[in-house]
Symmetry: C2
Subunit: 459 residues, 2 copies
């Protein structure tokens, strides 16, 4: 059976307008936001409009034994959506309806193609928020962020995507559809399939509807910028703030390489002579915000930091603009930006920061580190050039060492970016072969023909 | 190969003192806290002291093709720990060490036999709490509550067990050991196996170590008792309190049958002429507590309720003693207490309460309902006598109807008690055959010989 036949079947099943075959269009689906990854043209891209059409696509894929690569906006950072074996890219962007906002139960029901920011805009009028906020919140889809279990800046206080997914509808590799979870706060009915599919990176099924938890928006916020002449003082402050029983909504760090690059790029007024800055935001009702801010200031000053509190919304927005500029600023320094995702227990943050400085020196690489200090979730970012094969060799050695150190410190190889193609080879380091084998058994049980996102995670 | 041989092997592997064979001892392991369930004597009970011994037990069970029934304190309410096919009961009570309290990372590492309350006592000196609090907190073990994914009174604000399990060590059906998760706040490294094993009721592996998240203890608390002449007003108040952006730590309901029984049993001063009471507690820093209490009072009064705020700790303790008396009080009315666990989206609480009254009338049964109103998690409790076969028939019909209604209202068949033997037959009602089949595939993949807790959940 030929590709042409399969495409013909897809057109019959969905209508011609939902089947993309022009080579110049297919190129857009041959890569994603991940650097230093191969690209691959899919045979065809399909854009179903509902669950029934997803079922038809899966059944055609089974018939033609063709891989299916589910995709939202392709903003993931681990090569998760690259159609590395060709076949069908299944774009969920056509299923982008907010089905229901149920404010009384603090839940929303969305199709997978809804952009995260659009959901937040829609629930804002109810005084509610959907907390997970990856950097790509304005473009990433709900389906993609659930499949990748996105993190973001508010993980410390509010948790990550998996803490908000309450229910899913999923189309399985055998073409059947199932629903798990729902609107109840509590649910222990058999295995927690909602959590299994969340973060499964599209390897176990295609998520076609999502029920998420919402929470009341905090009434007040206060943002602060702390500067340190010594990297360890910044790391120690993070641990001590939490030890003081203050859980900030956000606690972000930028090292000197990042600060200087951001300032050079965006001219936001960051002090370029310091070793590190922390950006801290506390939120809640005004009384809480004031108390927590006072505690934060005391801890920072005790640890030799200087602190500046944003006077108003404009200053607050300025601070966050600086943080959001970190990645684009670093990305313009060199042609290739290898953004990593090493995560350690919060108390080992200083050790990891110091280790990253040593690794940069050892391999003679430019590494800017920023990230979610409160979560111990750092993004060491190697500024390089994929065409420089000698330097890339050192880059790969440095990455290997970064993960080795993260694991030695009791951390994980991925805090929020997932495994995809980028980190598959490190899995046994974290779980041992036995642990990986448990996951392989689950994959084989649910997708015995390896049709769903093959070449990723466990391959 | 005989049972005697197997017992001999177990004694060789563990030492005689860890192998229980006396019939009068085995009886204690033949049932659990669930009413209206068959009991069954195991062939042997083993009490391993460490993970290596658990591995040896599993390997012997494989060799003799004998079922293994993991067990903590046996307090579960769905027949989850009954050794219904005989074989080996694997008691985790011998592994009861708190391995580490890591206050800087807000985590604790425990063995499965640690009693929940003992963990809370140990972390209290750090100003921390482990929030999941099933009614059996003083006897239930961490391993049992993780395997059952226990809920409790604080689910609305603080979530349930699965929201606190960060890492596990597990011995699998093939005798291998694996570790998943750990101390990092964020972790998206491949499938979320921690969540899969949490709530798997011992059917996928034996959990031998657990890393849990802790949170700072709230500084202040305020408990309130609201009384209502009309059941719907109580239900509506629950919805409106959350709509007012107040998320109480606890929001419990008791209906008239329960109130009268509790008062008769414990003489705690509850008003016996009202249709329902709500017990509400808000917590946090004092300013928040005051504000939230004011909002709660306003909502209750608007919905025709009368409210009494506990003046001091003694009055507060009195209110909670009344709530905790609900189940023991109901249980002494009749010989058999069929405690159910129907859960609906919070906004459907009033509908469910009314339906329960109608079901009691229709089947001419005495049903007392109490539960976690804020979670939509009700415990309709049928007071009956297992020896009265005619009445038990009506009890079973009523239970069937309770779950049918809960599902029709968008709910689930188990909010917090799990499936075990008690609810296995209802699974297809919630998931359809496709959904159940997905779970069966996972069970078969990880436990192909059906050695772990057979006869439960998916059997």
């Amino acid at each position: 059976m030929s590709k042409a036949q399969m495409i013909e079947e897809l057109m019959k099943a969905l209508g011609r307008e939902k089947v993309i075959t022009e080579p110049e269009d297919l190129i857009c689906y041959s890569f994603d936001a991940t650097a230093d990854m191969p690209s691959k043209l899919p045979d065809v891209v399909v854009v179903p409009g509902n669950t029934e059409e997803v079922v038809r696509i899966i059944n055609i894929a089974r018939q033609f034994k063709t891989p299916v690569y589910p995709r939202g906006s392709g903003t993931n950072l681990s090569g998760g959506t690259i159609p590395i074996q060709g076949g069908i890219v299944l774009s969920l962007q056509g299923m982008n309806r907010i089905v229901e906002i149920d404010a009384d139960n603090l839940v929303a029901l969305v199709q997978p193609g809804v952009v995260i920011q659009d959901l937040n805009n829609a629930v804002a009028s109810f005084g509610l928020i959907y907390p997970p906020d990856p950097g790509t919140v304005a473009t990433a889809t709900m389906g993609g962020s659930v499949s990748e279990c996105s993190g973001g800046l508010r993980g410390l206080k509010y948790g990550v995507t998996k803490h908000y997914v309450m229910g899913i509808e999923v189309v399985l590799a055998d073409g059947t559809t199932a629903r798990f979870g729902g609107k109840t706060v509590k649910n222990v009915t058999a295995y927690d399939m909602v959590k299994l599919f969340t973060g499964a990176e599209g390897t176990l099924g295609i998520i076609t509807e999502i029920t998420v938890k919402l929470i009341p928006a905090p009434e007040a916020k206060k943002a602060m910028l702390a500067t340190f002449d010594n990297l360890s003082d910044a790391g120690d402050s993070v641990t001590e703030i939490v030890r003081s029983k203050v859980i900030p909504a956000t606690m972000e760090i930028m090292d000197q390489v990042t600060i200087r690059t951001v300032e050079n790029f965006a001219k936001v007024g960051l002090p370029t002579d310091v070793e590190a800055v922390l950006l801290i935001e506390v939120d809640g009702i005004p009384e809480v915000v004031q108390r927590e801010a006072d505690t934060v200031i005391k801890v920072i000053e005790k640890n030799n930091g200087k602190i500046k509190v944003a006077k108003d919304d404009q200053e607050r927005d300025g601070l966050w603009a600086a943080r959001r500029a970190a990645l684009p600023a670093l990305a313009q320094v060199k042609p290739t930006t290898v953004l990593e995702d090493a995560t350690v227990p919060r108390s080992r943050l200083t050790d990891m920061l110091v280790a990253l400085q040593q690794i940069a020196k050892k391999y003679n690489l430019q590494i800017g580190t920023f990230g979610h200090a409160g979560d111990g979730n750092l993004h060491p970012t190697i500024l390089t050039d994929a065409r420089d094969t000698e330097e890339m060799k050192r880059v790969h050695q440095a990455v290997d060492e970064i993960f080795k150190v993260a694991l030695e410190l009791g951390g994980t190889i991925s805090g929020e970016h997932g495994i995809g193609m980028a980190k598959a080879k490190y899995l046994p380091l974290e779980f041992g072969e036995q642990g990986v084998e448990v996951m392989r058994k689950i994959k084989r049980a649910l997708d015995p023909e390896n049709l769903l996102n093959p070449g990723k995670m466990l391959s």
